[in-house]
Structure formats: C-alpha cells, structure tokens
Subunit: 564 residues, 2 copies
C-alpha cells in the first residue's frame, strides 16, 4: 500500500470532507489539513440559527450528532487525519511539491510535503467601499467568531436598530436570525429588489411584501455611503437617499474566492475570479486539486462558468476529490444554482435561470407566475405558495423555477432541479409520477399545475398578463375592464382600487355575459389565477375577442403595499 | 365549431376532471356526466381527515377553496357541464353510440347519445369472505356516506375497540383517522408485515415498531374468519389465531376496478382485471376512453401492466382525456407506483419497485438501508428517517426507494421518482443539484448520502449486513463480534443483549485495535450506520480481514420489540 502524502489547505467544509473520504479509501495515506483559523469543520450555515437561539449551544456548530466536537483531536482519533490550526499556508512550491506555512501565533515557518495537494481555501467577505466600517456595532456573519460577537451583542441588548446591508442569502439569513418585534430591522439593497440575482424582481417584490407586512423595512436601489457613530459606536447608516438609525450593522454584500495562494503558484484563475478546475476537480496542475468556495463551477444549462459558493458543492466536491487523490476517477458535473432559504416564516427556493438571466443570455423564453396551495386546501396545514416557471419556447425545456411561500416549495425546486439535470421538458413534467396524499400536495401536484398553466400559455389556451403588466396598463390609463370574478367577500377584503374594475363571480358569469362589455379588452382576476383562467376561457368561448387573465391573481399583486 | 357530445360515466375524480378540461378546450361541446351516486367531485382522499376532526365540515370534502360546493349546480354554472346524479349507466350501445341509463330512485330509463364516451367508473371495495359482515359496527371507508356513518359512530362514542382489517394505504389512513389513546386500535393483516406490497417487509416492520410503541396493536399473518355480535352489533373478530374484542370493524382489503359496463360492451379487459387503454387513454373502441380507477396502467420501469388506483392518476389522466376528446393528442406515459402516506406522525413514501418485487421480477439488484437525519442534526426541527434504496447491479439504475420517519421523506421520493422517469442511475443521483440549507436537509442531501452508501456497497467499500441478517446470525449461534462503537450513554439507553456484543467507541477504536479479536468476524454497529461504516473502514485499513457493518444501526433494529 502507498503512503501517499495528501496535504489539504483549508479546514471548514471542502478540506475536511476531502480528508474524511480520502481516509476511508486509503488507510495508509498521510492526510494533513492546514487551517489558519481557530475552528475547523464548522457549520457556517448554522450560525443564523445560533443567533436566533434555535441552537442553544455554540459548540453544536461543530459537533457530531453524537456530541463529539470536531476538533483536531476528533480528526486524529475518528478520521486518522492530522490537523494544524493557526497554520497559514503562505506559498506552494510546485516544483518540489512542498507548501510553506506559517504559525499565525509564533510566526514560525514550517514545510509540508505533498504528493497530492488540495486547495479548500474558500472565500472571504467583500468589504464594500463604505466609510467608518471600523465602528463598534458593525458585524459580518462569515466566521464562527462573527457569530459569537453578534450573539454577545444580542444578549447584551445592544442590537435594537439593525441595518443589514445586502439582501443575498446570507443577508436574509441574518434578517431571519435577528428579526423580532422588539427590534427595528432594515435591509438596504443596492439593487432594486430582494435577493437580486437569486429571485427575479417580481418574486423578490412579492417576498418583500410578505416581510414588509411582518415589519421588515426595505430600502431598495439605495447605496450606503458611510456610517456615523458616537463614542466609536455606530449610530447611523448614511445612504445616497437618506439616513437610518442603527446600533448594529451587518455587512452581507457577498464573498470572493480566496485564490491568492493558487494565483501566486501560477495556477489558472478563471474569468469569475475563482480557480479553474476540470470535472475531476483538478487545477491546471494535475497534482493540485481545488474545490469549494475557491473554485468556479460549470452551469449545467448554459455550459458557462459561474461562481457559486455553497456548502453543498464544497461537500459533494470534497467526496469527489477524496476519491481522486486516492486514485479514483470521480467527477463533479456542474451546477444549476439551486438554493433554498427559510426566512421569517417563508420558504424560498430557486433553481436554474431566472427570467432576467435567461433573457440576458439570449434564450427565447416563456414564463408563468402561479399562486396555488401547497396541499389540498381543505387540510388544516395547507398554505399558499407562489411558483414561477421559465421554459425555452421552442424546446419547452425547463430553464428555471422559483418558489416562495409559507407552504412547501423546497420539494418542488428539488424535483425541478432533478428534471433539469436531464434536460427535462414541460411534457416530462406532466408525466412525472409524484406521490400524492392530502397532507403533501394536491392530486395534480402544484408544480405540475404550474407546468400545465405554462403549457396552456404556450399553446394559446391561457392568455395572460403578469401583475406587473396589469399595473402598467392601469398606470397608462388604458381603457379595459378588470373583471374580478371572486366572491363578494373576497372582493371586499382586498381588491384593486380602480374605476375599471368590474365584479361578477365566476358562478354568475355564464348567465350574465351581457353585462360584460363586448368592445373592450377584458382582464379577469381572482385570488390565485385559476378562476380568472376559467373565466377567460368562458369569455373566449362566448366569442369575446380580447380576453386575458392576470397571472397569480391578487396573491401575485404586491402593488397595494403602502410604499408602492 | 362542433357541438360534439361528450358523455362521461362516473362523477368522482376521473369524470369531472375530464369534463372540466374538455369544457375549457371546447366551449360548444355538450358535456354530460352520469353518476349513480349522490355526491360528485368529492375528495375521497380527504375522508380520513374528516374522521380525525382535522376537517370540521363535511361539506369541505366537496367544496372549492372559495367555499362553493361542487354539486351539479356548480358544474352547470362554473364549468358548463350537465351532471345527472342518481343516474346509473346500464349498457353501452356502441353501434349506435348511445348509453342506456336508469334513474336509481324511479327506475326510469333514459338514453344518452355520444360522439365520445368516457368511462370513469372507478373501483369498488373488495368484500372479503368473512362471516357476518352485515353486523352493525362494520364499516368501509370508500364513499362519502361511509365517512358520515363512521363519523356519527365516533361522535356517539361507539368506536372504542376498533379492528381494521387490511393494512394497505386506506387501512392505514383509517388507522391514522381513528387512532387515539382513548381507543384500542388493532390491525389485522393477512400478510406478514404492514403495508405489504407497498413497503418491503423490513421497512414495514420498522414502521410497525414505531406504531407499536405508540400503542397500535398489530396481528400479522393472521386471517379473519368471521365476526361475532350481540343484538346485531359486532363484538368480536375471530381469526385463524384467536379473537379480538371489537365494537367497530373497518374493512380495507383493497379495491377492484368497476369494469362491468365496459366488459358487457365488449371492450378489452386486461390481465389485471381492469380496462385496457393505450397511451391516449383510448379503450379498444377508439371513441371510448377510460381512465382512473377502472383502467390498468403501464409500469414505466418494467413495461408491465399494473393496477394502481390512485386519485393522482385519475386526475392527470382526466386532463389527457379532456384534451383527446376535444381533438388533442395528449399522452399518459405510465406510472412508477409512487405513493405517500401520513400516519400516526410518521411520513411514509415509496416509488418504483421494492426489493421483493424487483427480485421476483428477476432483477439482479443491490439495496441498502440507511438511517439519517432529514436535516442538519443541530436544527431543532430535525428528525430521523430511514431510507431504503434499490438499484440494478450492472446498470446502477435506480429501481426503487422507500422512506419512513418522523422527518421529511416525501421530497426524497419525489426526487427519486423524477430520476426514475429518466432511467436515472446512482451516478446521476450523486450529481443532482439539490437545494441545501440547514432547515431543509444536510449539505449532502440524505438521499444522496443513501446513494453514496449504496455505491460504496457496490464498489466493495462498504461491506454490510442488514439488521435481519445480523439477527439471523445471532439466532444461528454464529461466533462473531458485534462491535458497538457508540458512546457509552447511547449504548446504555438501548443495545442488543448478547454475549457477542463488545463495546469500543469510534473515538477509541484506532488506539485499542489490539482489543478487537483478529481471528473473528467483526460486525460493527452504531446508531444510524455512519460510525459503524467508519469503524469498518478503520478495521479493514488495519488489516482485519472479515469486517462488516450493520446497515442503519440501532435505528434499523426492530427486533427488541416486546413481540419479537
Ligand atoms: C451565514 C452563512 C450561511 C450559509 N448558508 C448556506 C446554506 O444554507 N447553504 C449552502 O449551500 N451554503 C451556505 N453557506 C456557504 C457555506 O458556508 C460555504 O459555501 C462553505 O463554508 C464553503 O466551504 P469551504 O471549505 O469551501 O470554504 P470556507 O468555509 O471559506 O473555508 C475555507 C477555510 O480555509 C482557510 N484558509 C484560507 N486560506 C488559507 C491558507 N492560506 N492557509 C490556511 N488556511 C486557509 C480559511 O481560514 C477558512 O477557514 C453559508 C455561509 C454563511 C456565512
Ligand atoms: C380513504 C381513501 C383515501 C385515499 N387516499 C388517496 C391518496 O392519498 N392518494 C391517491 O392518489 N389516491 C387516494 N385514494 C384513491 C382515490 O380516491 C381514487 O383513486 C379516486 O377516487 C379514483 O377516482 P375515479 O373517478 O377514477 O373513481 P371513483 O372514485 O371510484 O369514482 C367512480 C364513480 O363512478 C360511479 N359509477 C360507476 N359505475 C357507474 C355507472 N354505471 N353509472 C354511473 N356511475 C357509475 C361510481 O358511483 C363512482 O362514484 C384514496 C381513496 C380512499 C377511499
Ligand atoms: C463532517 C465532515 C468532516 C465530513 O466527514 P464525513 O466522515 O465524510 O461525514 P459523515 O460522518 O457524515 O459520513 C459520511 C459518510 O458516511 C456515509 N453514510 C452516511 N450515512 C450513512 C448510513 N446511514 N449508513 C452508511 N453510510 C452512511 C456516506 O456515504 C459518507 O461516506 P462516503 O463519503 O465514504 O461515501 C465534513 O463534511 C465537515 O467538516 N463538515 C462540516 C463543515 C461544513 O460542511 N460546513 C458547511 C455547511 S454548514
Ligand atoms: C375539481 C375538478 C372538477 C377539476 O376541475 P378543474 O377545473 O380541472 O380544476 P381546478 O379548478 O383545480 O383548475 C385546474 C386548471 O387550472 C389551471 N391552474 C391551476 N392553478 C392555476 C393558476 N394559479 N393560474 C393559472 N392556471 C391555473 C390548471 O392548469 C388547470 O387547467 P388545465 O387543465 O386547463 O390546464 C376535479 O379534479 C374533481 O372533481 N376533483 C375532486 C375529486 C377528486 O379529485 N377526488 C380524488 C382526490 S381526493
Ligand atoms: Ca382563484
Ligand atoms: Ca451512527
């Protein structure tokens, strides 16, 4: 048996996963992890739950399910891996297959030899060009130490007016962690909607509507210029549009790959700024592998390189690298950009391309927004969800799906991601055999209904306007009838305030067709889209020439928020 | 436009769905539904939730989400469909394209013409050969009237010692509906385990262990011979093995397709006893379509015909028939036998072939049983689940998966069903881009971990015994070491009582290898399988020749139930 030297730099997810898998495959290899920080093998993704108190004990963030801390001792005894913490790799000597490292406390240098080198150097948080970031009360949420610091401030009652800068996944996880009726929480987002690039603007807006109603303050299209403070403590966030009181600021404007070591060693860096690897996770030097937050990935739909720093990729790639550094030939095929988030009681999930991304890439697409129940409406656990589906027009290939709601959306997005792995089409979706029972979904699963509605649209059976388009028509002062076909109770609870709105329930429509003006465009509207679709078919069947329905009904209508 | 006559027989799911879709596509067609019963368009699947009180109002079982009852009036006004209830079709005159029907109250006959005829005649419950089924207190759970009758009995306090005969989906939904600490609930199953044919025996047993601990009584491999009663009311269920007190008996031994009308009309009936249709849902008479519980389906993996009466197929097929009777060419490709159930706090889901079914069909398979958390173990909502995965050995094609647990399994089964639609393999599974966040799953999704474990098994990296095999080895008196590598606390809480058990935690194993006998077979065991797998790798790496681990650990060990 070999006694191969496998040297791994970085000790969070990518590194330790590689080490664990490699050990299981090669009992004799010398496996070593160098980590410049203090903690290893920790659940960064769990930090928000520690802040919110869902996880009581800090140690749980790096403990096994059977209560053993994953410290160097654990790696030695349970995985046979040598871990050096506080040990920073400072250069790679590829010619001699050695890494020079430095003890961060003593400054002492040390040389580590390798047969196979693995870079799991991860990412670092972007520091935006904002003045006075060194004030007390300014936090990040990227390392375990960050979580400890914020937690102490939370427990000390120092976090009452919180401003979170950036509304990507980490920003919104921070929101989820600190949001409470006892605090003012404001998010400031440079772009126009929540979770930009993750959700399309319409979905981001609908999600924000929910959060806004719960009390979250959003400032969009607004740029933070500087912070102000008193006695060295932050008191205000100054943007290009105004000022916000703050005793705590969390910076979450994204991360960048840690490529310094790789770059200095002459390894190829890609356009995304991350390390280039092939599907075996090999860098341009075949004896050096890289994975996790420091590498770029291939998008399975577009074939393009993307930077997508996610724990799930770090772990799955770790297994691939563990195979390959011990003589295997495993591959990591690429990604679809699947992501899922729980925030303020809402489930958020997405995979593939958004409408905006797909159009920017030149795809000829069709999309639909659907509101639906996540399970049989008569079940007490049922909740509404909104799904947006995007397909390529000519091939009907699924390009992307996004879901938000109190109800279950993660399942649907995983199913879609599975389909997309195979290049699945709308017709495939209609033929999937998904399990049905009342506490899980509807006899035709919500995802499948969404696909049917999109197919109807492609085939001219469903003619629609998006809520955004309806809003624009109204704003332009166009002459048309907005035919609300809901029950009077539903109408009275909430409706679009406009003279062009006419009321007729779906049940009375067939009998009262004469009350619908035959010379005007008719746009039907209901709660979720189904009745409005039905009404549009009735009207079209009765000879009305110019009929559409509003996608997703009032559930898809965010424009009566106080702010709009 | 045509004024085509579309005549539909059967008014529950298949019929009304066909009618609704056909109407949207053809505004001028005359669409008529004949239903011999009183209710139409009802949620039979919702009945258990009405019994348990989760649904308060009986009417909710056939109401829209906006509170309108789906009665003939609804079908007339909202769908433009004529419904005749209490109207039984008694014969089909194919030559003249007419159906003869009879009013079930008046006996009056009436003739309905058709251009396209649709049979959605559904299924009827099997009446087993048990004496005295006419006693009071004997129920079925197939029609809305059944639900009403049982509900009245429940409310009247007449249901205290319940015996449910049959443990298929409907039997177990009945269990879920009536189970309560205030009642004795016993299931009697002719076959050897719970949900036979749906779950493999090992999974059925593990599920039963959970139910048993909650207080459910199971009688397996036991045949009910007769009921006994007093004053016309059931008091006892007599089986071939004994007697059970009962003041209520629910019969749930399966359903058979309603094919009388089709058969008498000379339409082809398949080997399964159900109506034969092609992928357009056409019977042997191209102007007669059939769908739902009265037809047989094609299994997408085996290509074989199967009878699988499920609401989801009835509805999805209804949309296909709605397309085709109005001139379309939609197809229903087949099924995978996906099913999902919520019972006594447990989620149960399955798709594809079970191990037993696959072997019976001659597949050369490998399978694995895995216990895992459904999400990051540190999240307070995390729960354990058990997954069993079955692949074809040479192709590594996924053949089936079954899941049970308090945690989320339905999502995983839907993902597997999606993969199987595409003929997906284990290697595909490892490359799926499933969304990860701590409240939803683990960085490597539990399903993917299961696939990895199975791949390890196929590649000789994981060498295992199933819990059943370990039990048999113990019973045979074989000489081997059952090495329990859990923490002492975990061991003390529950362990296999046997002299062959030895204790060493995973953490101390590398140091204490000399305490492990080198000349004996070693079988490692832990809580869920992961540590035991790791321990097996350590031992193999250290030169131990005969090492295996027990799949799914103590979570997969049901054999210390009082009854075993
Ligand atoms: C709040 C939060 C929530 C998240 N939630 C999710 C989620 O829900 N789902 C998801 O998929 N992802 C999530 N992520 C992302 C996830 O945490 C990262 O993708 C993952 O940690 C990447 O692991 P990695 O090992 O590649 O890199 P990192 O975690 O960045 O670790 C790299 C390590 O390498 C060390 N290092 C770097 N250079 C050197 C050197 N020269 N010498 C020695 N050591 C070095 C660093 O100190 C660092 O510890 C979240 C992240 C955060 C911050
Ligand atoms: C308690 C329970 C729970 C269930 N749970 C689920 C579940 O969770 N998931 C799932 O997928 N499925 C479930 N099912 C199965 C589901 O209810 C059936 O698959 C579905 O009802 C089939 O619909 P169908 O219209 O094809 O047939 P049926 O529901 O059987 O309806 C057929 C109708 O046709 C009428 N008819 C028959 N012959 C004639 C005639 N000659 N003239 C006039 N009318 C006629 C009958 O009176 C009947 O009303 C459940 C069933 C039950 C009983
Ligand atoms: C924990 C860590 C060291 C990985 O170690 P690991 O030993 O591979 O992980 P686990 O203990 O979960 O074991 C997984 C192994 O057990 C197998 N397995 C899992 N459940 C099993 C079961 N019930 N039965 C049999 N095998 C099982 C898996 O297939 C895998 O083995 P393989 O890779 O050889 O195929 C690494 O993932 C890590 O450091 N994670 C924490 C950091 C992190 O991920 N942060 C970001 C997310 S918040
Ligand atoms: C209800 C029933 C009559 C079907 O009627 P339906 O009009 O097809 O059903 P819905 O009202 O849900 O509408 C579904 C239609 O709206 C579309 N749709 C659903 N949500 C939509 C939305 N938000 N926006 C736009 N369209 C939507 C669907 O695509 C579908 O249209 P299509 O078939 O033309 O593509 C029939 O399914 C039934 O009788 N069900 C009850 C009985 C039953 O299923 N029992 C067994 C299970 S318990
Ligand atoms: Ca509606
Ligand atoms: Ca374990």
């Amino acid at each position: 048996m070999s006694s191969k030297k496998i040297l791994i730099i970085g000790g969070v997810a990518a590194g330790p996963k590689t080490a664990a898998r490699a050990r299981r495959l090669d009992p004799d290899a010398q496996i070593t992890i160098l980590e410049k920080g203090k903690y290893i093998s920790f659940a960064g993704c769990g930090m928000p739950f520690y802040l919110s108190g869902k996880i009581h004990d800090f140690d749980h963030l790096y403990s096994t399910s059977y209560g053993v801390k994953r410290d160097p001792e654990f790696f030695k005894s349970e995985r046979g891996v040598d871990v050096f913490t506080g040990m920073e790799a400072i250069s790679i000597d590829r010619a001699n297959k050695r890494v020079i490292a430095r003890n961060v406390d003593t400054g002492e240098e040390r040389v580590f030899e390798y047969d196979k080198l693995v870079l799991g150097t991860g990412s670092y948080p972007i520091t935006p060009p904002i003045e006075n970031l060194d004030l007390k009360g300014v936090y990040r949420l990227n390392h375990l130490e960050d979580a400890q610091t914020i937690k102490q401030a939370l427990d000390a009652g120092e976090v009452n007016d919180v401003v979170i800068i950036g509304t990507g996944f980490i920003g919104m996880e921070a929101v989820d962690a600190v949001f409470s009726p006892m605090r003012t929480v404001t998010v400031v987002e440079f772009r126009d909607t929540l979770l930009p690039g993750i959700l399309d603007p319409d979905m981001g807006t609908l999600l924000y509507k929910n959060f806004y109603e719960q009390g979250l303050e959003g400032r969009f299209g607004e740029k933070v210029l500087r912070l102000e403070g008193e006695d060295g403590r932050v008191t205000k966030v100054i943007t290009d549009k105004g000022s916000i009181d703050a005793d705590a600021v969390i910076l979450a404007v994204g991360v960048r790959p840690n490529v310094k070591l790789a770059q200095e060693a002459g390894l190829t860096i890609g356009e995304t700024g991350a390390i280039v690897v092939n599907e075996y996770m090999q860098t341009s030097d075949p004896d050096i592998y890289a994975l996790g937050d420091c590498v770029e990935n291939t998008h399975l739909l577009t074939g393009k390189k993307v930077y997508a720093p996610m724990a799930t990729y770090a772990n799955r790639q770790g297994r691939v690298v563990g195979d390959n550094v011990t003589g295997g030939k495993s591959t990591f095929k690429g990604i679809l950009g699947t992501g899922v988030l729980h925030c303020m009681g809402m489930n958020v999930a997405r995979t593939g391309l958004g409408e905006v991304q797909a159009r920017a890439l030149g795809y000829d697409i069709e999309s639909i927004l659907v509101a639906t129940f996540d399970m049989t409406h008569y079940h007490p656990n049922s909740n509404k969800i909104l799904l947006k589906m995007i397909v390529e027009k000519n091939t009907r290939k699924l390009l992307g799906i996004q879901g938000i709601g109190k109800g279950e959306v993660a399942k649907r997005i995983d199913v879609a991601a599975t389909m997309m792995y195979y290049g699945g089409t709308l017709d495939d979706l209609l033929n999937l055999d998904l399990g049905y029972a009342p506490p899980y979904n509807t006899p035709i699963d919500p995802m499948v209904h969404t696909g049917m509605a999109l197919k109807n649209k492609l085939e001219g059976v469903a003619n629609t306007y998006t809520p955004q388009e309806v809003k624009e028509k109204l704003a332009r002062g166009e002459d048309f009838v907005l035919l609300d076909v809901r029950t009077p109770q539903q109408f009275n609870m909430r409706h679009i305030e406009d003279d062009r709105v006419q009321q007729l329930t779906l049940g009375e429509l067939r009998e009262k067709l004469d009350q619908v003006p035959g010379d005007k465009e008719i746009v039907t509207v209901c709660v979720m889209g189904t009745r409005a679709y039905e009404a549009s078919r009735i009207l079209q069947g009765a000879g009305f020439k110019n009929v559409k329905f509003m996608e997703a009904g009032m559930e898809g209508w965010p424009f009566d928020m106080d702010d709009f």
